[in-house]
């Protein structure tokens, strides 16, 4: 114990003795480890899941998939009805296959006690065998008008039940109840109401060799589909679940990266302050014979000691919190329901090591600085910092700022996904640039902000002003975490709010209706609901090119198109109807030009020849198809909203699951619903990052205040009351927050202006710059409170101990 390892043991001794000095790095690492371990545990648990309702089919056959870019979840083209029959026959002929069951799903939402139930997935009765779900009571639905329900709905066989379908409400007789979720119709009725088939499940005889069936099925279907068995069946995960999971992955990855990188930043700043504060001590070590290497090792030793404890504690707590995070993700819609978190030992071990690595990484630059301390610094007074700002720093800072502004300019002309990337790039460059230039920018800002203080009679103003100016570097580096907190909060919330506002702007410009019919507690508007009070609506659906690629389309009516005043650039809207469609220019350019007749696949798998009648620039969707054609081929399609041009009806017929809102409220209502998730996520992101940089603010201010203990004692000895001394400290920290806030705004505003210009150009409509002021004020208030609190808390000790000593 007495030999060797000086770095570590000296580090340990220092940590034991000065734990307060390490509280900041500890807190940062601890929080970071919690976040990283909770998010990564959730991330690793977030694999695709085989839906329960398909679990009983040991081999699944699905339609062929087209190549899709990342994040695109457009559906695959279903088989044609003839293909389904042929495939079913071929698959059922494989030895060991008892039945080949096509999975037919449709919209069917039972209304129980006047309220539509949440689960709205209807299926053909035969697909219940894929789970398998079994009858609990009554009989299976054998003919149209019969339905088997989940027993948890509490309906007895023989009773009547209203079921909302895509056409409208329909009366059914409950034939039986099953031990699983869903609404089951007779196979005949389901075949009529469902869209196309994309999946056939194979039910095998007991003891059948699954691998043999798998390969036989591959031979049987050739290029007409894909075959999955065993674990690979998760590929049959519903598209919507895959999309939610994808969004969740993005969120979790962003959160993990944010957590790890802010941990590095916060730890680095905590250690840097620790080193600056203890220069004298490092000088002494150097004087008594520590080599620069040994001094560096002692800083790493401290980091290791703090890192091991904080990382272990944080990782453990993160593992405990991971399931809570999992539930939260499901509740927020970032993971499909049924998502459960599994804690894995190896991932926790990984997080623990990451935590230690973060600590060592954070200590890297601090240790280099400590190693450069000269032995003579043991003898000097704690130096007021007069080191000039190196030219290299000025140049680098200036370049980054110029780069950031250029980024803002480019953002203004960028579009689509690039908009966000450029925005983030701009912000990153401005943050780094301003952080580097802060010591240059600080003096004029401080002078300006404290000008009124200097005029005051009291001493506080003068002291604050002069000490902030004297240690420009200290002022600048304490302002840095505030810069990041405020800058990030304004940027992220402003981005979200401005983007949302731009969608509102786009949406509002489309509507010329007086009121709007919206779904209320149901998955969408049925034909009956969409026709309330003479409303008109569009039916979203998908069309498929010959190569299987999906094209989003809307079913619309000619009269409404004409009334909307859309101006075709080619052709005429008069010809819309029958098998004639209208397309956007980009679709026209891809082989669906004016006058062309193209074979198009529909949601039911049928192929119809459609003729392009007109090309319109500002179409609400890529392709418009006559509504009745969509209804004929996509029996489960639901409208998202319907518009009433005239006066809204006084009474809405009940049981349709609708509500009517005035047009002026529509944009707001819609954006409320659309943006709720995004907004929650944004606030979460801001809260996490602010919580984090908050640690940095507290640490830097505590350390700065501790470093000034001697000044405070002198102040007290020269006649300042304890209150005056503390007020000085508080005002000084407020000044730091003001400086950081101004710099933060200087980062966020140009970035946001660039984004706004980009959005406006994209939408060719003016987009307002929206700043969620209350939230930003909360963040600034939080910084103020934290900064002043931490500084005063630390200074109080210095002031107190002085009082104690003069007392005796």
């Amino acid at each position: 114990m007495l030999r060797g390892g000086v770095g570590l043991s000296l580090g340990l001794a220092t940590v034991r003795e000065r734990w307060t000095a390490f509280a900041g790095s500890f807190a940062a690492l601890f929080l970071g480890a919690i976040l990283v371990s909770a998010t990564s545990t959730a991330l690793l648990s977030a694999g695709p899941r085989l839906p329960d309702r398909l679990a009983g089919a040991q081999v699944l056959v699905t339609v062929p998939a087209v190549e899709r870019p990342e994040g695109n979840f457009s559906p695959d083209r279903p088989w044609s009805p003839e293909q389904v029959v042929a495939l079913q026959d071929r698959l059922a002929a494989i030895p060991g296959v008892e039945r080949a069951v096509p999975d037919r799903s449709l919209y069917a939402q039972p209304v129980v006690d006047g309220v539509p139930v949440e689960d709205h997935r209807g299926h053909a009765w035969s697909s219940a065998a894929l789970a398998p779900y079994r009858l609990v009571s009554g009989t299976e639905p054998r003919q149209a008008g019969q339905v088997a329900l989940d027993r948890s709905l509490g309906r007895k066989p023989g009773t009547r039940v209203t079921v909302l379908t895509a056409r409208g409400p329909a009366e059914y007789t409950v034939s039986g109840t099953v031990d699983g979720p869903g609404v089951y119709l007779s196979d005949g009725e389901a075949a009529r109401l469902a869209g196309g088939v994309r999946l056939i499940g194979l039910l095998l005889a007991p003891g059948t060799d699954v691998a043999a069936v798998d390969s036989a099925a591959r031979t049987a279907i050739g290029h007409d589909g894909r075959v999955f068995s065993g674990r690979a069946r998760v590929a049959a995960e519903p598209l919507e679940d895959a999309r939610i999971r994808w969004v969740g992955m993005q969120a979790l990855t962003a959160m993990s990266i944010l957590a790890a990188s802010s941990a590095v930043f916060v730890t680095a700043s905590a250690f840097a302050f620790g080193v600056a504060w203890r220069r004298q001590e490092f000088g002494l070590l150097r004087a008594v014979g520590a080599t620069p290497r040994q001094v560096r090792a002692s800083v790493y030793g401290e980091a290791l000691a703090v890192g091991v404890v904080a990382s272990a504690a944080g990782t453990a707590l993160g593992a405990v919190l991971a399931p809570v995070l999992g539930d939260l993700l499901v509740a927020l819609g970032f993971q499909p329901s049924g998502f459960t978190v599994r804690v894995r030992a190896w991932s926790l071990a990984g997080c623990f090591l990451v935590g230690i690595a973060v600590a060592l990484l954070g200590a890297w630059s601090a240790s280099r600085r400590a190693g450069r301390v000269s032995p003579l610094e043991a003898l000097r007074e704690a130096a007021a910092d007069e080191r000039p700002i190196p030219l290299s720093r000025k140049i680098a800072g200036g370049l980054l700022c110029v780069l950031g502004l250029a980024g803002a300019a480019v953002t203004a002309t960028a579009g689509g996904n690039e908009l966000v990337s450029f925005g983030l790039f701009t912000a990153a460059a401005l943050i780094c640039g301003l952080a580097l230039l802060a010591p240059l920018i600080a003096p004029p800002v401080v002078r300006l902000a404290t000008w009124p203080l200097g005029r005051l009679r009291g001493a506080t103003g003068m002291i604050v002003r002069e000490s902030a100016l004297a240690s420009v570097r200290r002022t600048a580096s304490t302002a840095a975490p505030v810069l990041i907190t405020v800058g990030f909060a304004v940027l992220v919330t402003g981005m979200t709010a401005t983007t949302a506002a731009s969608f509102d702007a786009a949406r509002a410009s489309v509507i010329r209706a007086e009121s709007v019919v919206l779904p209320d507690g149901v998955a969408g508007l049925s034909d009956a609901a969409a026709g309330v009070g003479g409303a008109w609506s569009t039916l979203p659906t998908a069309l498929y090119r010959v190569n299987g690629e999906a094209v989003p389309a809307l079913g619309a009516e000619r009269d409404h198109l004409l009334a909307a005043g859309l101006k075709p650039s080619q052709g005429s809207l008069e010809d819309f109807g029958g098998n004639n469609i209208v397309v956007k220019p980009w679709v026209a350019q891809q082989g669906w030009g004016l006058g062309q007749v193209v074979p198009v696949g529909f949601e039911d798998g049928c192929t119809v020849s459609l003729k392009v009648a007109a090309v319109v620039d500002d179409l609400p969707n890529s392709v418009l198809v006559p509504r009745d054609l969509v209804r004929a081929h996509d029996p489960s399609a639901l409208a998202e909203e319907a518009f009433i041009l005239g006066k809204a009806p006084d009474a809405v017929p009940g049981g349709l699951g609708t509500r009517i809102v005035a047009a002026e409220d529509y944009a707001r209502v819609m954006s409320d619903e659309d943006d709720r998730l995004t907004w929650i996520f944004t606030v979460l992101l801001v809260a996490v990052s602010a919580g984090y940089t908050g640690v940095a603010i507290a640490t830097t201010l505590m350390t700065a205040a501790a470093g000034r203990a001697r000044d405070l004692v002198v102040l007290r000895l020269s006649g300042a009351t304890a209150g005056q001394a503390l007020r000085t400290v508080a005002v000084e920290s407020v000044l730091v927050v003001v400086l950081g806030t101004l710099l933060g705004l200087a980062v966020a505003i140009p970035t946001l202006l660039g984004m706004r210009a980009g959005l406006a150009e994209q939408l060719s409509a003016p987009v307002p710059l929206v700043l969620p002021v209350p939230l930003i004020l909360v963040v600034i208030g939080f910084c103020l409170l934290l900064a002043a609190g931490a500084a005063v808390f630390t200074a109080r000790r210095a002031v107190r101990s002085q009082t104690d000593r003069s007392g005796d």
């Binding site: 007495l2 002494l284 004087a287 008594v288 014979g289």
Partner: protein, 259 residues
């Protein structure tokens, strides 16, 4: 001006020199003006002797000590410790030399506050990766009269006790030279006598070389030789143990000349 006097030791080179300074110059750049803290000092410190360095404030005493001890590098000139030219060493080499051949006691802030007195004393050995015998530490602390305080941290020791711990630490590596910059500056008369006797004792018993900066003529009277510095040059020298009054008289005349 007085280089003739300071050159007297050069003739009798047969006795071993612990530290030699050859035309050492140390300048600082302050506000575009060059400030000569040391202006060509040549002198030597014989092994087993106790030298006091005196002079008005700002005359370059501390600078001389730092350069002689290898804490600071001279702008010009050469420093030799125990036969090694410091100019030939890099930062690590210099550190190793300091660790092995040189001990220091500063006026204040001598101890690492996170470590106990004992740990502070064996710190140089730990840094050198040498084994530490517990009885060695105890003896070292006992020598400075602090045998029972080894487990205390600096915050629980008085200024004089801290100073003595620093002396114990400085001696633990058996250095060739011990440097002390106003070691008694902050101590009361009784405690400073104690520290001075301790230093004198080391010279007499262990033939330790000691170089001490002081403002106190009484402290200087414990030394075998007194060097007087003014404006970065050696201006006077008293050889052989001198009384405090004699030192005091020299200082007064020095200060009078400076005016």
């Amino acid at each position: 001006m007085c280089s003739g006097e300071s050159g007297t030791w050069l003739e009798g080179m047969e006795s071993k020199q612990s530290v030699e300074l050859w035309s050492v110059r140390r300048t600082y750049r302050a506000a575009a003006r060059e400030m000569r803290a040391l202006d060509g000092v040549t002198t030597g410190f014989e092994a087993g002797t106790f030298t006091a360095v005196m002079g008005p404030s700002g005359s370059g005493k501390s600078t001389l000590l730092h350069c002689a001890a290898g804490l600071d590098r001279p702008t010009e000139g050469k420093v030799v410790i125990d036969g090694t030219d410091l100019g030939t060493l890099d930062e690590t080499g210099l550190t190793l030399l300091r660790r092995e051949r040189v001990g220091f006691v500063f006026q204040a802030f001598n101890l690492v506050s996170a470590l106990t007195a004992e740990q502070n004393v064996f710190l140089p050995l730990r840094l050198a990766g040498k084994p530490v015998a517990p009885e060695e530490i105890r003896t070292a602390l006992a020598e400075v009269g602090l045998a029972d305080r080894g487990g205390h941290r600096p915050s629980r020791l008085s200024g004089g006790e801290q100073q003595r711990v620093a002396i114990a630490r400085a001696l633990i590596t058996r250095p060739a030279v011990l440097f002390a910059d106003e070691p008694t500056g902050a101590l009361d008369t009784k405690t400073s006598r104690h520290v001075l006797r301790l230093l004198r004792d080391l010279v007499d018993r262990r033939r330790q070389t000691v170089i001490m900066v002081t403002h106190d003529p009484v402290a200087a009277s414990y030394a075998d030789r007194v060097l007087f510095l003014a404006d970065g040059r050696i201006v006077d020298e008293l050889v052989g143990r001198a009384g405090a009054e004699e030192v005091s008289a020299r200082m007064t005349s020095l200060e009078a000349r400076a005016c």
